[in-house]
Symmetry: C2
Subunit: 195 residues, 2 copies
Amino acid sequence: MQHNIIQHFNNIINLTKEEESRILSLVKVRRYKKKTMLIEEGAVCRAISYVFKGCLRIYKIDSEGIENNVYFTLEDWWVVDLKSFIEQTGARFYIETLEDCELWQLTKNDFDVLLDEILILEKWFRVLLQNALISSENRIHYKTSLKAEDRYDKFLEKYPTLESRISQRHIASYLGISPEFLSSLKSKRHKQQKP
Amino acid sequence: MQHNIIQHFNNIINLTKEEESRILSLVKVRRYKKKTMLIEEGAVCRAISYVFKGCLRIYKIDSEGIENNVYFTLEDWWVVDLKSFIEQTGARFYIETLEDCELWQLTKNDFDVLLDEILILEKWFRVLLQNALISSENRIHYKTSLKAEDRYDKFLEKYPTLESRISQRHIASYLGISPEFLSSLKSKRHKQQKP
DNA sequence: CGTCTATTTGAATGTACTCAAAAGCGGTGG
DNA sequence: CCACCGCTTTTGAGTACATTCAAATAGACG
């Protein structure tokens, strides 16, 4: 009963058996070792990937050379530089695996073909974007209205499995604080038995 | 040659004259005075509004009672609490006019009818969400990687007309800083003749 | 013209950062 | 299997960015 790409679609829309096979005929399964770059800023994002196994980070390097994690992607979600993929222009972000990953990929061309052939997929994609936007709007709000410690709580809520899977450095970067400061937040909590 | 809702659609998709009239037959034009609440947190967002004239803010009140502006909407853009509108559940945000506004509205029901009748509108909506998500992703990145002064520059880029139209208090809230600090940033710039 | 709100200015404070150094941990090769 | 190397995490001191509070000034609106 593990997740897979067809179940994922059928959570939102209803596919016929034929449509399911058509999709699977175009999907390519690829495995990546931990710490592999999928996309670098400026390159064109040629595929959209369903994460079957593993986790990744989407990040950007600022004017001072600091890496900033924008978000993480894990099992049963999609990873892509949306703007780059849609417009086939230079990517805004870097994408890197944080674990060994198994990704189920569709090239831009195959993706377009499927959206043309299976009209209901427009709805699936729309709902996907919709949910991503809703979550992104919340994120903006948290970033202005919450202090670092409360943003850390939100992170734990949103990615409950991730804390033990990735380094604190990456979590700090996602939260927008220094690794040192996250470390001191955590030690403060332990001393207070997480009140 | 001013913008209007039909031109807006035709920037993304191609509508027939019949489709255009069908849309216009369901659109309701409404005028709101400055400082009118369109939606309060917890209420159901019953309409999606195209901004023909005016500007609005989307904000949230945090646990300490402070208003936080999440973003602004102005001419030729849409305003809605997306999650509330789509699911017809309680809104996450407050929406308030900052000027006298003319909004062209579609109720949830009419919106659904149009999306069913005019399939190409699914694409329009998808592109709308796509662009909103892209811009929202950038915003998250700016909030972690830029200092207040640079975020202020990004604000001026994104909303070039807005600085003279709304109060500094609202801009400060959008930037995630106190009005006092924005004031001191601006006076610092004037002393340095905006280097 | 008066009232209410917004903006400015300055002082004291707090939150989070930088830098540096030490300790911990994980993977790799001998 | 252990020792070593490199990277991550911890800890602490000093600093910078931004806040809060208070009071004075300026602007907007009826």
